[in-house]
């Protein structure tokens, strides 16, 4: 048990270190600009007052170390400064939208995971038959499509032709639970399709791996029905890689969410990030990047820890390559 604890503690430490280095990159990226960042970003026409307030807001009038420490402690206390574009508190801007993004990601996950795993099981049961090749080709095609293509096809069909669902996903206070769900239906389906494709392929690959094991042949020789073999014998042993894929796909949702929120004009964190990048509103960009990065690191960390817990072979400390 102590060995596992030590490995996990080491992995958590590595995650925190990665996050620390990322925060350095996010904060000091502005130093990449040649010359004075304030005039490079605000342009030639900026007034001296604007330049001075920009420098002060980004703390460019202080030494880098103090600037970084002030920013990092602000971030940890939930106060990452003011927006350059409208002077509002970054925390307020993010607070409104974070919940919306989490809701969209949660709905997409709830749709995609069961369907993806079920399709993977079905493909394994039907391996080598027409259904298997159809789903595997379709999933490859879905993965290679850009999200906005899938999104606009869905809009063209479900909101323009059929008029069933809204093409623009508003999120307003006072919506009932059902209204809120109907609003995010199209963005959530768009995100789900890609995730389903990945999860299906990975579930199938993981199951096929297990299906080659001798105990599966034993079950077949006993005359166990194919469904029971796949679900009762193979699936439990393929769960570890599947959980891993599920978590890594949640990490993919971070990227997908940015595009899908822009397509559906959904007021989430992704749209805020894109808007702020085009306005070069650095305090907001930095805060959004840190949130996305933290979620990404956390998901990867969870995937690693679950893999260690579920696979005894990973519990032994890894020998460094000679």
């Amino acid at each position: 048990m102590n060995v596992i604890g030590a490995i996990i503690a080491k992995r958590v430490g590595l995650g925190l270190f990665t996050l620390f280095v990322i925060s350095l990159l996010v904060f000091f990226a502005i130093q990449l600009l040649p010359g004075d960042p304030a005039s490079a970003i605000l342009g030639q026409g900026a007034t001296p007052e604007a330049l001075a307030s920009f420098r002060h807001e980004l703390g460019l009038d202080q030494t880098p170390l103090i600037r970084y420490l002030a920013w990092a402690s602000g971030l940890l206390h939930g106060d990452p400064g003011h927006s350059l574009a409208n002077g509002r508190l970054v925390a307020d801007l993010i607070g409104e939208r974070l919940g919306n993004t989490v809701y969209l990601a949660a709905v997409s996950t709830a749709i995609a995971m069961p369907i993806g795993v079920a399709l993977g099981v079905m493909a394994t049961l039907m391996r080598g038959r027409v259904w298997d090749s159809i789903t595997s080709t379709l999933s490859l095609v879905t993965i290679s499509f850009p999200e906005f293509f899938i999104a606009y096809i869905l809009v063209a069909v479900f909101s323009v032709s059929l008029g069933w669902l809204p093409a623009v996903a508003f999120a307003e206070a006072g919506q009932t639970g059902w209204q809120r769900f109907a609003n995010v239906a199209l963005p959530a389906i768009t995100l789900s399709l890609t995730v389903i494709a990945y999860v299906m392929r990975m579930t199938r690959a993981a199951l096929m791996n297990v299906m080659a094991a001798p105990y599966i042949e034993m079950a077949q020789l006993k005359g166990t029905r194919p469904f029971a073999i796949v679900v009762r014998h193979a699936l439990p042993n393929a769960l570890a890689p599947i959980i891993n894929v599920v978590l890594l796909n949640l990490a993919y949702l971070i990227v997908g969410v940015v595009v899908v929120e822009v397509v559906f004009v959904y007021p989430g964190l992704g749209q805020l990030l894109v808007d702020s990048v085009s306005k070069r509103d650095l305090p907001v960009v930095q805060a959004c990047c840190m949130i996305f990065a933290a979620v990404y690191v956390l998901l990867n960390l969870t995937a690693d820890i679950l893999a260690i817990l579920s696979n005894p072979r990973l519990r032994r400390p890894r020998r460094t390559a000679a």
């Binding site: 990665t18 280095v21 990322i22 990159l25 996010v26 990226a29 502005i30 990449l32 600009l33 970003i41 080709t137 490859l140 095609v141 993965i143 290679s144 499509f145 850009p146 999200e147 906005f148 293509f149 606009y152 096809i153 809009v155 063209a156 909101s159 323009v160 032709s161 093409a167 623009v168 990490a251 971070i254 990227v255 940015v258 595009v259 822009v262 397509v263 990030l273 894109v274 702020s276 990048v277 085009s278 070069r280 509103d281 650095l282 960009v285 930095q286 959004c288 990047c289 996305f292 990065a293 990404y296 690191v297 990867n300």
Partner: protein, 285 residues
């Protein structure tokens, strides 16, 4: 086996992929001769219908796929867009490969501290979602084509580094490399003449996959308005510019989006076949 025979024996999906890629390359090379109108030439009103409603097209204009939000011919813009989108993505992939393979080979042959430092840097860069990193750098540097190519190539090179480092480590342990070493060849010579020629298969497949990734990535950034800037014709930006048409039931944004999707699917199909084909060849089947 001759090239012709290999191609004839390829599965249907790979043949379709090859034909689609060839059509795109024709558009890239011969754009000005294929496009009936200029890249930024206004030919009529906003969002005129195309061949499906020929009767309502004004006299003297033939916009095969209709016109865009400024009245420019969509078909011509798609053809020029192929040139811009594909060439920029190819350039970026080439740069990413140059950086990734060089650093990967240095890490694989130098080993020790150099390898440790390079690998840890790559680990950290990969611990950050690519899109988020790219957005951060674009916010700081502003979007222009050189910045776009540089940023994406740098982020993508991390993946190429991982693969070529692994390949290099693997091949470095082969007898013929040992032999070359004992002959007293310099390490650069060994990499160029012994290691790289034996890594061409996996690297070629990876090039196809990286191209897809880079191409989709640039299209996504352009779609978000942070990539290739107007008035240059580019498929991702064309989707963005015409996006509002979809709520009127006008399908214009689907054409450039489909063009992006078709090219990535085509490259994926060919790479899929290539991996299986070279895999089979290795196993002597």
């Amino acid at each position: 086996m001759t090239v012709g025979r290999v191609l004839r024996q390829a599965p249907l999906t790979a043949k379709i992929g090859l034909i689609l890629i060839a059509l795109n390359l024709v558009a890239v090379v011969f754009a000005p001769w294929i496009a009936p109108y200029g890249e930024t030439q206004v030919v009529g009103d906003q969002w005129l219908p195309g061949f499906w409603d020929h009767a309502s097209m004004p006299d003297g204009i033939y916009a095969l796929l209709g016109t865009d939000q400024l009245g420019r011919d969509i078909f011509s813009r798609l053809v020029y867009g192929a040139r811009n989108s594909i060439l920029i993505a190819l350039g970026t992939t080439a740069l990413s490969f140059t950086v990734g393979v060089t650093t990967g080979m240095v890490a694989a042959t130098a080993r020790g501290v150099v390898d440790q430092i390079m690998s840890r840097i790559v680990d950290i860069l990969m611990g950050f979602p690519t899109l988020i990193f790219a957005l951060l750098l674009l916010a700081v540097l502003g979007s222009s084509i050189p910045v776009l190519i540089g940023v994406i190539a740098l982020l993508d090179a991390t993946r190429v580094f991982r693969l070529s480092r692994a390949l290099g480590m693997d091949l470095e342990a082969q007898d013929y490399v040992e032999l070359a070493r004992l002959r007293g060849e310099r390490i650069g010579w060994i990499v160029l003449h012994e290691i790289l020629p034996n890594a061409t298969g996996p690297l070629a497949a990876e090039f196809g996959l990286r191209f897809c990734f880079v191409f989709l990535f640039i299209a996504t950034l352009s779609f978000l308005g942070l990539g290739i800037q107007p008035p240059m014709a580019d498929w991702g930006s064309m989707v963005r510019e015409n996006a509002s048409a979809i709520s009127f039931g006008i399908l214009t944004p689907l054409f450039p989006a489909a063009a992006i999707a078709i090219l990535t699917v085509a490259v994926n199909l060919v790479v899929d076949w290539f991996i299986r084909f070279t895999g089979d060849a290795h196993h002597g089947r």
